[in-house]
Amino acid sequence: MAGPNDDGVWVARCLGGDAAAFETLVRRYQRVLFTVAVRLTGNTEDAQDVTQNTFIRAYERLETYDPARRFFSWIYRIAVNESLNFLRARRPHDELHDTLEANAADDPVEREEKGERVQAALMELTKEYREVILLRYFGELSYEEIGETIGIPEKTVKSRLFSARQRLAEILSAKRSVVS
């Protein structure tokens, strides 16, 4: 992840009227935010809308960004709120479906099934647990960065991540036993 000072420079340029400078920030964070959105909303189409809205909202509210904090922490909160708003607005009968595409692996069917199982298990976790798993494994953030992003001490990140992993393993184990 790029240094926070560097992000601040790009933000300052955007605020100064150089809208093109925002492209650097979009390219830098689109992958991690899209992954988080996919895992929160459950499908790639919705995640695309959420990611786009996140960047647009961020640009609109750029003057509220505090340079004393990391840009990613700020935009991540916007992404989470956008995802939650999206889920709230989604009609109850809309099904959660995972359309994650498997890459060209040896056994694409197995990979896809695994992906679907993990996605379904993630959706059963509480928001707090899901958040730390997403940031650690899909956002590839350090404990320190996770703590900063969600506003909890590093020690709490570690303990929460441990509990979240245990819960996720239990859910996956139960799903496997049901399948078998």
Binding site: G8, V9, A12, A19, E23, V26, Q30, Q48, S73
Partner: protein
Amino acid sequence: MSEHELDALDRTLQEVDRPEPPAGLTETVMKEVTEIEAGLSRWRRWRRAAHSRRITNFLSQEGVVWFRTKEGRQAAVQGGAIVRTKILWGVTGVAAVALVSIFVFGYPPIGNSGTEGSIGAAQRYQGATLSMKDVKVPDSDVQQFIQSDTFDRLLKDSTARNALIAMFKDQALAEALSNPAFVALVAQPGMAEQLADPAIQALFANSEARLALAKPTVVAFFGKTGVAQLLGDKNVAAFLGRPQTQEALLAPASQKAFHNGNLEQALAEPALAGLVSNPLFKSMIENDAMMEALAEPAFVALFANSAVQHALADPAIVAFMTNPLMANVMGNAQVSLALGAPAIAAALNQPAVKAGLANHSLMSALETPAMRMALGSPANRGAISAGISAGMSR
């Protein structure tokens, strides 16, 4: 759950595909962003540019230090010795407010053991400062302020600290700031943010504005409960930060008005504080059309007009302005533009007009859509002004 099972989970999570953002996402976002940028109002652009400068200044300071808060959040301050110096200045500055308040104004009183008679010089200073007559501040305000979250926030917020330091460097303003009324004003919720606002700092940077703000009557006015609460409001901060407001406040005509005794007399009028702390007044200053009207040279000239200043200090006019209906009417740009016409400004000071303004039906008439539409026409405004002038000359 065993360690082995958790390791297996870690491997599973590592193996799950990371979805690639869809092609064209960046382009779609950038297209929207370009449209947003093109549609920003002048006010938003100015505000964003101000924040851009704030970020650039923050980042360009040597030794930005990143640290971890109690909550584990990472935060930054301008580092090392700079921070220590600024904290020292901040503490010294606020301590100066408290000490000057205690020793110069004798406020808040420190016990009654009879030792007060031994400090002759302090007694002389007390006699020379009359502003306490106008200022009613509860005894515990200074202590409360020092123990308050606001004070804590001011010390922790580097931008607010910078603002305070800049203010204390100015002798005239520092004297004004030592007034308990100002201490009470700063203790208002939301004031720390206001002090940190570049627009407010720009106002303090103007020597004429500083001189005006340092006047005891002005300080006393801002220290009045309703006015102080109003200044703590974020919408009012936004109003003061608007380029049009700054332009109007710093215009030579406004500066002249600040030095005029009549304006001070008007500020001392209790009903005027009632007017500005009226919720309708707040809605009035949030009105974009009203802002445009305020920036009109005619409106600035209106307040610089000594006849109007006399009128503003008149209880009849103040009663008229404080009427909730009138505050509503003033929120209409056409009405305010019409009131800014020179002939109407002159007419305001006529006894007959004052008597007319006290009439409730006039306000009701001004509030009707038909009257607003009529006042919206420049030709009509001219005709009304001419009519009033002719009426006054008879």
